[in-house]
């Protein structure tokens, strides 16, 4: 986690063009350490190292798993906020849809594998389930854009931030209750994806599923970041989030980008739900926790900032795991909430607030 957050912060800084970390310029390094991202990132790393030495490496493992999942949900959230200017409060429901899909796809596969243990599905089955959870997230996103947000945008964009926010809350309630109505309110979980003996890494036993969950989220976040930075379409998405009129002027079809963005972000949320099904069984309101946590990340790292969201996800995960470890399991929402209030009071643009404008400024 340390290496990762450091790498990202590094790239982030290169991107922001402020203090070039790579130049081996001592002054720049000291300047970076003193800046808000510097303080928080080095603080988190020190905290993580301290906790690892004090309580054992399993803390780090928990942080990495939670952080990877949060990064997926939060980047989607931040993308929707940046491009569509929607304060999305239904994002957890795409997480729920992802996990539900994974459950209904994986259960028959799992039954089949139990009867034929040598089948290739023992390895590929979970991947199929997770891939389908991603696709179902994307489809759900496209449907909600087509029947909810699109019509509203075409009708009127007056008071857009408030109206779209209220719509997402309504959508969230609707999807939660649809789940309850159709699939029931019970926990729909699986025992394991890949199973097998836990792997030992540096004296800690980590189950294969957790390792895979982390690999999947790390891989997707990386691919996503490369896509956003280097491809023509990725650049177009960033352009739309920075200046809609400018994007239209250079010849970008806004409608297409909007549809693509919502599909991508919901797919990210769906795959997070699918790949973590072995930890969090599917039930109607399961999306609320990742939603709130992702909002903590987005506020902490600054609205509409993708790389910041990845770093922020690991910070919030660290905070959550540390709170559970040292304060108590019931406090894991309280401490991050206090932190968010502090951020909003003292640094309203977020810690990595360079890529940021307030939602209302647009």
């Amino acid at each position: 986690m340390m290496a990762m957050s450091e790498k990202f912060s590094l790239e982030f800084n290169l991107k922001a063009g402020e203090n070039n970390f790579m130049s081996k310029n001592n002054k720049a390094f000291v300047g970076w350490i003193k800046s808000a991202p510097g303080i928080t990132i080095s603080g988190s790393i020190i905290l993580a190292v301290f906790a690892t030495i004090y309580s054992g490496p399993y803390i780090l493992v928990n942080v990495i798993i939670t952080g990877g999942m949060l990064a997926l949900v939060a980047t989607g959230l931040t993308l929707i906020l940046g491009v569509l200017n929607i304060a999305m409060f239904a994002h957890g429901e795409y997480f729920m849809i992802g996990s539900l899909t994974a459950y209904y796809v994986f259960t028959p596969i799992s039954n089949y594998v139990n009867e034929n243990p040598d089948s290739i599905l023992a390895i590929t089955g979970p991947l199929i389930a997770i891939a389908l959870s991603m696709i179902s997230g994307a489809i759900a996103g496209v449907i909600s854009e087509k029947i909810v947000f699109g019509p509203l945008r075409r009708r009127s964009t007056d008071n857009w931030v408030m109206n779209s926010f209220l719509l997402t809350v309504g959508l969230s309630v609707l999807l939660i209750n649809l789940h309850q109505l159709i699939f029931g309110a019970d926990f729909k979980g699986i025992v394991r994806y890949w199973g097998g003996m836990p792997t030992e890494i540096a004296g800690v036993f980590i189950s294969r599923d957790r390792i895979m969950a982390f690999i999947i989220s790390a891989f997707i976040v990386l691919v996503f970041w490369l896509f956003m930075t280097y491809t023509r379409t990725g650049r177009a998405i960033r352009a739309v989030s920075q200046d809609v009129t400018g994007a239209q002027i250079v010849g970008i079809n806004i409608e297409n980008i909007v549809l693509l963005t919502i599909a991508l972000s919901c797919a990210l949320s769906g795959v997070a739900g699918g790949s973590l099904l072995f930890m969090y069984p599917s039930y109607p309101t399961m999306g609320l926790e990742p939603l709130y946590m992702a909002w903590f990340v987005v506020i902490l790292s600054g609205l509409g900032n993708i790389l910041g969201a990845v770093v922020g996800a690991f910070m919030v995960a660290l905070l959550k795991v540390m709170t559970v470890e040292y304060v108590g399991a019931g406090w894991d929402f309280v401490v991050p909430s206090i932190l968010i209030m502090m951020v909003l009071i003292f640094k309203p643009s977020g810690i990595f607030g360079s890529e940021v404008r307030g939602v209302l400024d647009k």
Partner: protein, 235 residues
């Protein structure tokens, strides 16, 4: 005739600003629209570039009716718009901004050629290609906005208030770069508040007042016209 605007009506919501505006531009011309604040100069530009939908009338570009097309299609037809607010991508580097300007060109090699062309034209941008657009000075941003407009190799360039909010020295720079573009054969339609300066550099001008074309003619004639001198130049 490159662009022909016929009896254009346009505005925002229920507010109509342009009333039956007619104007034409030939290939290679450097035309300006001058007029007081609120006359509808920017509205004309926005309506031609597709950012607002015309309420009535026709816009014909290269013999093709482009009335009411979305902005991205109009850009693809070869009209570049440099807006008053510039609408740069502030968190992208100068080079990324320019490459976004060539969004409609898919060929990487042509993109590079265009980029080199812009860097030749504005050496200042080449020096700062790795800098974030948001951290540049006002004059440099204008240059970048014009450069980005040029990247798509447009047939017609609409430039809205390039001197807006700039110091006199920088205004001079911006006008010089537009001059270079005009001499290189790009058709430019310029909207400006700086009437004296504009009429001295352009070939032809339209005077827009209260959403209507009041006067039209050669820039030199307009500059000597008694009415224009009285109303805009205050002499």
């Amino acid at each position: 005739m490159l662009l022909e605007v016929k009896e254009l009506d346009a505005g925002y919501g229920y507010l109509q600003i342009l009333r039956k505006v007619c104007l034409t531009i030939d290939k290679g011309e450097y035309v300006c629209i001058v007029g007081p604040n609120g006359a509808g100069k920017s509205t004309t530009m926005k309506a031609i570039s597709g950012l607002i939908k015309p309420m009535g009338g026709k816009i014909i570009f290269n013999g093709e009716d482009i009335t009411g097309l979305p902005a991205y299609e109009i850009t693809q037809k070869g009209i570049a718009f440099v807006s008053e607010e510039m609408n740069l991508f502030v968190n992208m580097t100068v080079q990324e901004n320019l490459l976004m300007g060539a969004y409609i060109i898919r060929d990487k090699k042509i993109q590079r050629d265009r980029l080199d062309f812009i860097f030749d034209l504005f050496p200042r941008l080449a020096e700062r290609k790795k800098q974030l657009a948001g951290t540049m000075s006002g004059g440099e941003r204008k240059m970048l906005a014009i450069g980005r407009g040029m990247m798509s190799n447009p047939t017609l360039m609409l430039v809205d208030e390039p001197s807006f909010g700039l110091a006199p020295q920088l205004t001079e720079n911006v006008f010089q770069s537009l001059d270079v573009l005009a001499k290189s054969g790009v058709t430019i339609m310029l909207v400006e508040q700086n009437v004296t300066k504009t009429l001295s550099v352009t070939n032809r001008g339209y005077v827009l007042e209260n959403g209507k074309i009041g006067l039209a003619g050669k820039s030199s004639d307009l500059a000597n016209d008694g009415y224009v001198r009285k109303v805009f130049l205050g002499v």
